[in-house]
């Protein structure tokens, strides 16, 4: 077992809206090692995104502990969460979430604006190169195809060299071919040492991961290694 990067102990999440309490996560326990490629699966509404938001420091648990690299982050405030998000994680969303009317370059640079890291220009170009979009670097985000947009989003997620990359349904809005390309990049990133946490409800997509946690109604129902691992990295792909 590699060194644990994430430890979750009895993690619960309730949403409270005007006295109405919605219980979403019921006491989850698991650990994630550095360099893992984990897929979180489950039907719609089961709490996958909620869990990913907590793991990605976008939200805090109602109770229980979330320990990241040995630090208990369960009770971090807004600004501390923002700082750790900036330093430790990158996000890829289903809906890309690029800044409109803004170039690929500026989009990828965005997380660096809020970090202490120097040498922005090289980092941005490096990240864009690793998703194979250098030829699009000065295009505006709305001039790109869906697949290209998601690759820009991946470049943005890795520009700060984070420990963990979270991807919530990254192929959900893409056709099969573009989806394959995106999964190929995630695999490649995993091969170069990044920890990847992927949320999906497609078995096919989840098969790219090394390990799958299945959630139903806020409970973990299975946590297994993938036996028939699929790969989109069959030799010569678009990454040349």
């Amino acid at each position: 077992m590699p060194e644990n990067i994430i430890q979750v102990k009895d993690l619960k999440k309730d949403y409270v809206n005007e006295e109405v309490v919605t219980k979403v996560l019921y006491g989850l326990n698991f650990e994630i090692g550095a360099g893992e490629f984990l897929a979180i699966m489950g039907p719609s509404g089961s709490g996958k995104s909620t869990l990913m938001h907590i793991l990605g420091f976008l939200d805090t648990p109602t109770s229980g502990q979330y320990i990241f690299k040995g630090r208990d982050v369960s009770n971090f405030d807004d600004d501390k969460l923002a700082k750790i998000r900036n330093e430790e994680v990158g996000f890829v969303f289903q809906t890309f979430n690029l800044l409109p009317k803004t170039t690929v370059y500026e989009n990828v640079k965005l997380p660096l604006l809020y970090s202490n890291l120097g040498d922005h220009d090289n980092k941005v170009k490096e990240a864009i190169k690793s998703v194979g979009l250098l030829h699009r670097i000065n295009n505006l985000s709305n001039q790109l195809s869906g697949g290209e947009r998601q690759r820009v989003a991946i470049a943005r997620a890795l520009v700060t060299s984070p420990s963990v990359i979270f991807a919530d349904e990254p192929t959900g809005n893409l056709d099969t071919k573009s989806g394959q390309a995106v999964m190929g990049i995630l695999e490649e990133l995993n091969n170069t040492g990044h920890t990847i946490i992927l949320v999906t409800h497609e078995q096919y997509t989840a098969q790219h991961a090394i390990r799958i946690i299945k959630i139903i109604d806020g409970h973990i129902v299975s946590d297994e290694k993938v036996i028939n691992r699929k790969s989109s990295l069959n030799g010569d792909n678009f990454l040349k």
Binding site: L58, D78, D79, A82, N86, N97, L113, R156, T160
Partner: protein, 411 residues
């Protein structure tokens, strides 16, 4: 995020929304322009007044009948006739006060002057032979009265240039007889063309010896006022004191008594006028300043709308690590950029209008200075920036508090 990043970001947002940014800052543009116009046109109007006062003559000291405290006007202004100021006082000032170059007393009245079939409404003044020295002017034709004629009640007049033109056209007026209020006078001279000075047209005046005006025309033995020309600006204060001392003595006023005259110099008059007009100017500018607050509220309104329009953008920025402070800075800078640009446009616009006003006034023959003060430029742009800061804070705070998850889910 450096300030430079923030500024770049602000300007790129403004550039993509040019028309909206312009409309947003319109209130600021108008408000700042209004303040600048009022300050600059106000200063121009002040210069007009001062130039007019100076055109009466510099280094002048005036003696008016009736007491006055330091700030208030003398009694004569309120129509109270004080009869103790005399021709002899003027003569004594000339003889006994140091640094005095020329002195003239003044008596004035109105009437109609006739020559053959021509008649013109005029102001006439009884003055002394020193008049030319006091007023810094010359005769155009003929001669002025002599010192001997001051007391001689000679039936002689010197015509203002306009009066001469109206009555005689191109004829020679010298030696001709004219009538004022049925009294007959010989024209001995014509004054040089002078234009307006001290808000009075000097060219429709008819001048006569002081005794002539007092005895023949007006039937009185006191003067309306005395003007004294001093040789040098530095000596004005001393001469003013000397004149007071002399007149107290001549009028038998004791140490604790109240003066029956007041001595004023142009410098004091200008100071008093400046105090009053400055107050007026700043009062008007303050009213115009209120429109800036209205403009600021308008900017805040638009920025609130911009925040709700850009919820997703803010959510994304927070998701990738922007802290509240970063978002605050971004929106405050953006608001300040709008108001600052508005302020700069307002300053330029304001001075443009003020320049047009000044040019028009000068074209119409007024001595109106175009005043462009560094303080109002700094103040105008500074105020605009502060407005951006003040009215940008609330929208920025709203943006900074957005929850990234909610914001990203927002459609």
């Amino acid at each position: 995020m450096t300030i430079l990043d923030g500024l770049k970001l602000s300007f790129s947002v403004l550039r993509t929304n040019k028309i909206r940014s312009f409309l947003t800052s319109l209130g600021i543009i108008i408000g700042i322009a209004a303040v600048i116009i009022i300050m600059s046109v106000g200063a121009g109007a002040q210069s007009l007044i001062i130039n007019q006062l100076n055109s009466v003559g510099t280094n002048l000291v005036g003696v008016l009948p009736g007491a006055s405290d330091e700030e208030g006007p003398p009694a004569s202004v309120f129509g109270i006739v004080v009869t103790t100021l005399k021709y002899e006082d003027a003569v004594a000032i000339k003889k006994q006060v140091d640094n005095v170059v020329a002195v003239s007393s003044y008596n004035s009245g109105v009437g109609t002057i006739n020559y053959q079939n021509n008649s013109v409404d005029i102001n006439f003044s009884g003055v002394m032979s020193d008049y030319l020295g006091v007023e810094d002017t010359e005769v155009y034709l003929g001669r002025f009265f002599t010192e001997e004629e001051d007391r001689g009640s000679a039936r002689e007049v010197v015509l203002g240039y306009q009066v001469y033109q109206d009555l005689f056209g191109s004829d020679n007026p010298l030696g001709k007889r004219v009538k004022i209020k049925k009294e007959s006078f010989e024209v001995i001279g014509v004054m040089k063309e002078r234009g307006t000075a001290g808000f009075q047209n000097q060219d429709d005046l008819v001048l006569m010896p002081v005794s002539t005006a007092q005895k023949i025309m007006l039937g009185l033995d006191y003067v309306n006022y005395i003007r004294v020309k001093i040789n040098n600006t530095e000596n004005i204060d001393r001469a003013t004191e000397d004149i007071k001392f002399l007149l107290r003595d001549r009028h038998d006023i004791r140490i604790d008594g109240t003066d029956d005259f007041s001595v004023r110099n142009t410098k004091d008059a200008i100071d008093t006028l400046l105090t009053v007009t400055n107050a007026l100017k700043f009062f008007l500018a303050a009213i115009a300043g209120i429109s800036l607050i209205v403009g600021g509220v308008g900017v805040m309104n638009i920025m609130l709308a911009a925040v709700s329009e850009r919820v997703r953008e803010v959510g994304l920025r927070k998701a990738v690590g922007a802290r509240r402070f970063h978002i605050m800075i971004q929106f405050v800078l953006e608001t300040m950029a709008i108001t600052l640009i508005g302020g700069i446009i307002g300053v330029v616009l304001g001075f443009l209008v003020a320049a047009i006003v000044a040019a028009t006034a000068n074209y119409l023959g007024y001595k109106w200075d175009f005043v462009i003060s560094f303080t109002s430029i700094i103040l105008g742009t500074g105020v605009a920036a502060v407005i951006g800061l003040v009215f940008g804070l609330y929208p920025a705070q709203k943006a900074a508090k957005l929850d990234p998850i909610e914001a990203l889910r927002y459609e």
